[in-house]
């Protein structure tokens, strides 16, 4: 594969728990020890840390409930200083030496939080309480808002810029497998064996998924061995790419997927040059979602107490991390998977009571086991309440039938399983609409999406056998779709066990109290009841009103439960109620990783001309124009900007001056229909432009408004070179291609951007010819043989060039296009030759002044998308004989009005006063606000050549108002009297450029 191999990072070492290697870490300021292979969560549990944070709204104490991405409670700030990261789930970060974490919400301490007093006020803060209050007095709202904001947010943003590197990488494959559990591994193995190009991603550092928490036998091997074997085989296949620590987070059109690989854990200082996280942008032909399932909690009073965990997580902490969680445990489960936790708890030495709402079944394969292990199973029973203050101490169990008996069991752990929700996020991102399967009690994929398969737990198939087999089948199907022939990997039948069906139930009418659905946002059953009572019936309204699923886990654990509760209250079925929309990313993604290398100087690559280093060494100050960095002016020792510009302006008019004009867009146009095309895209006609001649052109949008301008030259038969404004180059090329490709595909004409190929030097001024003569061979530069607006090929300083007699300053001028690679020598030669005439280089500021003296517009400065050529007084360039883009629009009533804003000159009464650009113009300076504005100043400069200030402006009906007095009215109240003048201030006849 062409993609680089992720070097083994810190994360991949010591994947399995290695209790001989100890790691020191700190949590909330206290020191602890964990072992290699721990997550922060497992290390905390191993250290007996039960309370890990406080909830967002009521500041209730909370403990770890899960072992994965669904964790709502164990949210920490990792590290400190510039490398700190907020809002990390303790269940998802691997422990490292020196890790420092603090709970994002802990108040003064986890034991004491002033704001926990809010709990007392909690009854007055139902969902949406802020919509109902803080309205009067109106004045106080900003104060209330500040109060609300005080409690906002979880972690803190770093105080200094991110020192780390991120990048992104594009990858293509035949088959993308998402999820490295048994189903995904089995699919990847099948696909890999056939030689297909496979990428398999897994969010955890370890392969195996749910299997990691379950000591099972797969194909005659222990699950650990089986995983190791499959991974070894996959590693040996050169077309297979294994991406552990890589969470697939987004699915887009045409099988485009995004995944984020964590190469160094958050909060750690990483080696110089290494990348902390990398976004994989994967385009696959076939995709297999083997994303597993997430366990659901159950509802009863105080179900948020620390010490209450999902049953699957309990198993994982026991099996994978070897933690003794409990001595007296209660398991509350409505399906068989809870019994696995019970077995694991028994093995780890706990006494166990199982509370199961289902009736006892004859075929219960746990019956014998429970007898042997003295495990009490209470069938047809429900937990109605958990009790305890700092953590769970006991549970109240109600048994239906015979007088509704009630028991209390003391316990130090409550393991809960309400069934499993297939992870259907990717399916939903791709437009899939999950279907509720009554029998399995969960949403499953419904209609197939082309190129996608869901397998294993993600498909609602929870048995090992099904996962393994669906993996093989999906692999074969995907291979077939990609044109490979498959060989089936050897499998032996896994004994499939008879499971007793789940009894999904969502809520017990009789258990009151605080029953939490979304632990992070403190959304309770009562909140949903209130929302429904208040008429919020759509599940989306309920979600928004109660903030269900708005936490950093995005409702992975609680959403489906909340929806089911809402369905019950609305007296609807779950399918009628529907789910809320799943939105990417699956788990949060670092901004820096998404930005990748597009930061700092590479945010948008700076474009520099061939002469850039010359400009630097000659002291240029620069201006950003589009992506380009252009010289703005060249101050000499001790000069202010104004002094430098004055000097440059004088030299340009009286002696000779040169400017780097390379940034102007250049588009090479060729083909038999080139003239036809130009005629349509420009307002003026091009039919009679002979080879060797140049012409200025104006381009309009469909709305008749000026869009771009520039000189186009006929280089030869059917061959033209168009120039555009610097900022407009890409837009104009796109515009031309759009018309050609979508409207006029019959035209034979081809466009090539050549902006970067040719460097452009413009030499102008009375001594331009004398200067240029010295370096230019083979061309007669005399006006007679090389008149204004014509083009010759010639050799300058030994380099073949294109020479144009055009100028943007109104002076005698030559514009030289030269291969960018050979350009500096040409520039130097002209510079040398001009020395005897006192040549200067000038930047954009002087260019602006010179063109304004001549009344030449700058598109985008003197126009703004609302200006027609007529408004600019450029009627001469608008052909009456042919059609062109924008022509029809010019004939519209409003575009023909006489009193449109028109381009004029402005002269201040005080010649020394330079008007502010962007100033608004009024006829009556004393009108009360809102005042009537009749135009604005578009360009304004001190003109050293004329010896006074000049300005260009757009003024309502301006062409008829020459000589009239109007006023600039500034926002600070100042008014300045000005007279409307011609927009040409210098050399009105245009003699100077023709000499």
């Amino acid at each position: 594969m062409s993609t680089p191999n992720a070097t083994t990072s810190h994360l991949q070492e010591g994947l399995t728990v290695n209790s001989s290697r100890r790691l020191n870490f700190k949590f909330n300021g206290r020191s602890y020890q964990g072992v290699v292979g721990d997550t922060l969560a497992s290390a905390l549990l191993a250290n007996g840390v039960i309370v890990v944070g406080r909830s967002f709204k009521y500041r209730r104490r909370r403990g770890i409930v899960s072992d994965g991405a669904e964790e709502p409670n164990a949210i920490v700030q990792l590290g400190s200083g510039a490398t700190t990261v907020p809002n990390i789930r303790a269940t998802q970060v691997m422990l490292y030496e020196g890790l420092e974490a603090t709970s994002v919400n802990k108040g003064y301490s986890l034991d004491f939080d002033l704001r926990a007093i809010i709990r007392l006020a909690g009854r007055f803060m139902p969902p949406g309480f802020y919509y109902k209050t803080f309205m009067s007095p109106k004045k106080l709202w900003p104060f209330y808002e500040r109060l609300i904001r005080l409690s906002a947010g979880l972690g803190e943003i770093p105080k200094s810029p991110d020192p780390d590197l991120y990048d992104s990488i594009n990858a293509h494959c035949d088959i993308l497998v998402v999820g490295g559990g048994i189903a995904g591994l089995s699919a990847a193995l099948t696909a890999g064996l056939a030689g297909a190009r496979v990428i398999i991603t897994e969010q955890q550092p370890l392969w195996g998924g749910a299997l990691l928490g379950r000591p099972e036998t797969v194909v005659g091997l222990s699950s650990k061995k089986w995983i190791e074997q499959v991974i070894d085989r996959l590693k040996g296949m050169k077309e297979v790419k294994l991406l552990p620590n890589c969470c697939l987070f987004g699915a887009y059109d045409h099988h485009f997927y995004t995944a984020c690989e964590t190469r160094y854990p958050p909060g750690i200082t990483i080696p110089e040059g290494e990348v902390r996280e990398r976004v994989w942008k994967i385009r696959a032909r076939q995709v297999i979602h083997a994303t597993g399932a997430i366990e659901r909690p159950l509802l009863y009073k105080n179900n948020d107490l620390p010490g209450i965990m999902l049953a699957g997580a309990v198993s994982a902490y026991i099996n994978r991390w070897d933690i003794t969680l409990s001595r007296h445990a209660v398991v509350f489960t409505n399906n068989d998977s809870g019994y696995r936790a019970a077995c694991d708890l028994v093995r780890s030495g706990a006494s166990v009571v199982v509370v199961d709402p289902r009736a006892a079944s004859e075929t219960n394969r746990y019956a014998k086991w429970s007898d042997q292990n003295r495990v009490e199973i209470l069938n047809q029973s429900w937990i109605t309440e958990a009790r305890g203050t700092l953590r769970v101490r006991s549970v109240i169990v109600k048994r239906s039938g015979e007088g509704n008996q009630q028991f209390e069991f003391t316990c130090d752990l409550l393991a809960v399983s309400g069934g499993w929700n297939p992870v259907l996020h990717l399916y939903a991102y791709s437009g899939g609409k999950p279907l509720f399967d009554e029998q399995r009690g969960c949403f499953v994929p419904n209609a197939k999406i082309e190129g996608q398969q869901q397998i294993g737990a993600a498909n609602g198939s929870f048995s090992l056998a099904a996962c393994l087999n669906e993996g093989v089948e999906a692999g074969i199907h995907a291979l077939f779709e990609c044109g490979y022939s498959a060989s089936v990997p050897e499998t032996t039948e896994i004994e499939s066990v008879e499971e007793q069906p789940i009894l999904p139930f969502w809520r017990l009418a009789e258990s009151g109290g605080e029953q939490f659905i979304d632990l992070q946002n403190d959304t309770k059953v009562a909140d949903i009841e209130l929302a429904v009572a208040e008429g919020y019936r759509s599940i989306e309204h309920i979600k928004r009103y109660t903030l269900l699923g708005f936490g950093t886990d995005q409702g992975k654990m609680g959403n489906i439960v909340g929806m089911a509760v809402a369905a019950g209250l609305l007296k609807q079925t779950i399918p009628e109620t529907g789910t809320t929309t799943f939105r990417p990313p699956y788990t949060p993604v670092t901004f820096g990783a998404i930005a990748g290398r597009h930061v700092g100087p590479l945010f948008d690559t700076v474009r520099k001309t061939a002469f850039h280093s010359w400009h630097c060494s000659h002291g240029a100050e620069f201006e950003d124009v589009g992506q380009w960095r252009r010289p703005w002016y060249y101050p000499r020792e001790g000069e202010t900007m104004q002094q430098a510009v004055n000097r440059e302006c004088l030299t340009a008019r009286n002696q000779v001056a040169m400017i780097d004009a390379s940034t102007l867009g250049k588009i090479d146009i060729q083909g038999p229909d080139a003239v036809t095309f130009l005629d349509r895209i420009y307002t003026n006609g091009w039919g009679n432009l002979k080879p060797g001649r140049c012409r200025y052109g104006l381009m309009l949008g469909e709305d008749g408004m000026v869009m771009d301008d520039g000189v186009t030259t006929c280089l030869g038969p059917n061959h033209y070179l168009m120039t555009t404004t610097t900022g407009g180059a890409a837009r104009v090329l796109g515009w031309m291609e759009r018309w050609l490709q979508t409207e006029w595909p019959e035209l034979k004409v081809y466009f090539t951007s050549v902006t970067d190929h040719w460097a452009t030097i413009s030499v102008s001024g009375p001594f331009a010819r004398k200067t240029f003569e010295q370096v230019c061979e083979q061309v007669d530069l005399s006006s007679a043989s090389f008149p204004f607006l014509s083009f010759r090929e010639g050799v300058v300083a030994g380099v073949p060039t294109r020479i144009f007699r055009i100028s943007f300053s109104g002076e005698l001028g030559f514009e030289i296009n030269v291969n960018a690679n050979a350009a500096q020598g040409v520039w130097d030669a002209i510079w040398e030759a001009g020395q005897e005439y006192g040549i200067t280089a000038y930047g954009t500021e002087t260019m602006h002044v010179l063109r304004a003296e001549k009344g030449f517009i700058i598109v985008g400065q003197d126009t703004d998308g609302s200006v027609t050529p007529i408004d600019l007084g450029m009627n001469w360039i608008v052909s009456k004989k042919k059609d062109f883009i924008g022509r029809r629009s010019l004939a519209r009533a409003d575009t023909k009005r006489e009193d449109r804003k028109q381009l004029v000159g402005l002269l201040t009464s005080d010649p020394a006063r330079v008007l502010p650009e962007g100033a608004q113009l009024v006829a009556n300076p004393d009108e009360p606000l809102p005042a009537t504005m009749i135009g604005h100043v578009t360009s304004s400069y001190w003109s050293e050549n004329i010896g006074r200030s000049i300005a260009l402006a757009l003024v309502r009906g301006g062409h008829q108002k020459e000589g009239q007095r109007i006023y600039v009215r500034n926002r600070d109240g100042e008014t300045i009297a000005v007279n409307i003048s011609s927009s040409v201030f210098f050399d009105p006849e245009g003699e100077r450029q023709n000499v």
């Binding site: 802020y130 519209r892 409003d894």
Partner: protein
């Protein structure tokens, strides 16, 4: 309508919140109404509310194909400001801003309008010229507007990098102190509740599938819940406006594009102002929950699927990291898109149509949340009087044939 107040809240708290009444009814559609508004977004609901409240018309239905507020109203980044360049736009948006300022009170529903100020950054000399021009025009139009220097920007928003060596250094900004953000759902619910209290029927899960015409007049709509007749029909369907217009045989100069936004995980408050940058293209604020709310630019292609391309998100995130280097390590938590209705001049179309009885209000594109109250107010006036109010007179369909465009996009270059 059951009034909301702190005292009420206290009372209900003591009785376990068992007695709150439903905020609006869920009626079956009647056979006929005086006015049917198609589209239960903020604009449609506001239109119904002002029709009832200002013009005494109460036999009104708002029909919504999904759940009210589920379109762009519930998907936007909630920036509210009125510092538009052109007089016509400035007056319309300022009317709206004035209504915002009294809205919580008027609706008796706290829409959490937070006037924390909106800043538009300038990154080039032309940006600075445009900023000056806009700030001057705003002030002369009676709208609060200031120009800030980079140092003043840093004081207000310490998070922004004003480094002169940045790729696009911050050269200045315009600032509207009265601008801010509001709670998008609250505006939907607030208007719905208030309109319902005045007798308006809000009918959800009711998709308009056809427009009924009799001798050239529009006389009602066909819906998934049956035919509903009406003397007047107002189409206020944002990205789907042209689809509904098409049902009536009318072609609108509207293109529908995806527009995406996203939020980060919630963090402790660090940004009190709304910051927008057109040059690097992104805009950001921090919600009262602590999430950084970021808006991107529109996706280039036309479409109706409420999701866009990843590249657009990449661009917006890079812009944010460039402007706010300390946000690089926070994480994107949720991303979504809406379908925006873009007119050629990026200004709304509000008024009568060539079909008698049919009124439209669309074209708000990327920036119509802020105008929700004003838009409803002028459309209500237009429907009630059968002619535009002077505030929306410049914004009727006729401008596309007369050429009197109001090119806010081209001129000010500021979307949203």
């Amino acid at each position: 309508m059951q009034r909301f107040s702190a005292l009420r809240l206290l009372g209900h708290g003591l009785t376990g919140h068992k007695h709150w009444r439903q905020s609006w009814r869920h009626p079956e559609p009647k056979r006929e109404y005086d006015v049917v508004i198609v589209g239960g977004g903020g604009h449609g609901l506001a239109t119904a509310y002002y029709l009832a409240r200002e013009h005494g018309m109460t036999n009104i239905a708002v029909v919504e194909k999904g759940w009210i507020g589920g379109g762009n109203t519930g998907r936007n980044t909630t920036i509210v400001r009125s510092n538009y360049l052109w007089d016509e736009a400035a007056h319309l948006y300022e009317k709206s801003l004035k209504l915002w300022e009294g809205l919580s009170h008027e609706l008796n529903f706290n829409v959490m309008f937070s006037q924390r100020g909106v800043m538009n950054l300038a990154h080039s000399l032309q940006d600075v010229r445009d900023a000056e021009r806009r700030a001057n025009a705003n002030v002369l139009n009676g709208i609060d507007s200031e120009i800030l220097t980079p140092e003043q920007i840093r004081q207000k928003v310490p998070l922004i990098s004003i480094s002169p060596t940045a790729r696009y250094p911050v050269l200045g900004a315009t600032f509207q102190p009265r601008g801010g953000v509001a709670r998008h759902d609250a505006i939907t619910w607030g208007y719905a509740r208030a309109a319902d209290a005045l007798g308006v029927d809000i009918i959800q899960n009711c998709e308009v599938t056809g427009v009924l015409k009799e001798s050239g007049h529009v006389v009602g709509v066909e819906t998934t819940r049956g035919v509903i007749r009406a003397r007047k029909v107002g189409v206020v369907a944002a990205g789907h406006s042209s689809v509904i217009a098409q049902m009536a045989g009318l072609r609108l100069p509207i293109e529908s594009h995806p527009l995406q936004a996203f939020v980060s995980e919630p963090c402790k408050p660090a940004l009190d102002t709304v910051v927008m940058s057109n040059a690097v293209h992104a805009y950001i604020s921090q919600s009262d929950k602590g999430e950084f709310v970021v808006g991107a630019g529109i996706d280039g292609y036309n479409g109706y699927s409420q999701s866009g391309g990843y590249n657009v998100i990449e661009g917006a995130v890079a812009a944010i990291v460039e402007l706010f280097p300390t946000l690089s390590r926070i994480r994107l938590m949720r991303q979504w898109g809406g379908i925006v209705d873009v007119a050629p001049d990026a200004c709304p179309i509000i008024g009568l149509t060539p079909l008698k009885g049919l009124y439209i209000n669309c074209g708000w594109g990327t920036g119509g949340f802020k105008s929700t109250p004003g838009s409803g107010w002028v459309l209500a006036h237009t429907i009630a009087h059968n002619r535009p109010h002077e505030l929306n007179l410049p914004f009727t369909l006729e401008r596309f044939s007369s050429g009197a465009l109001i090119d806010e996009h081209g001129a000010a270059g500021v979307a949203h």
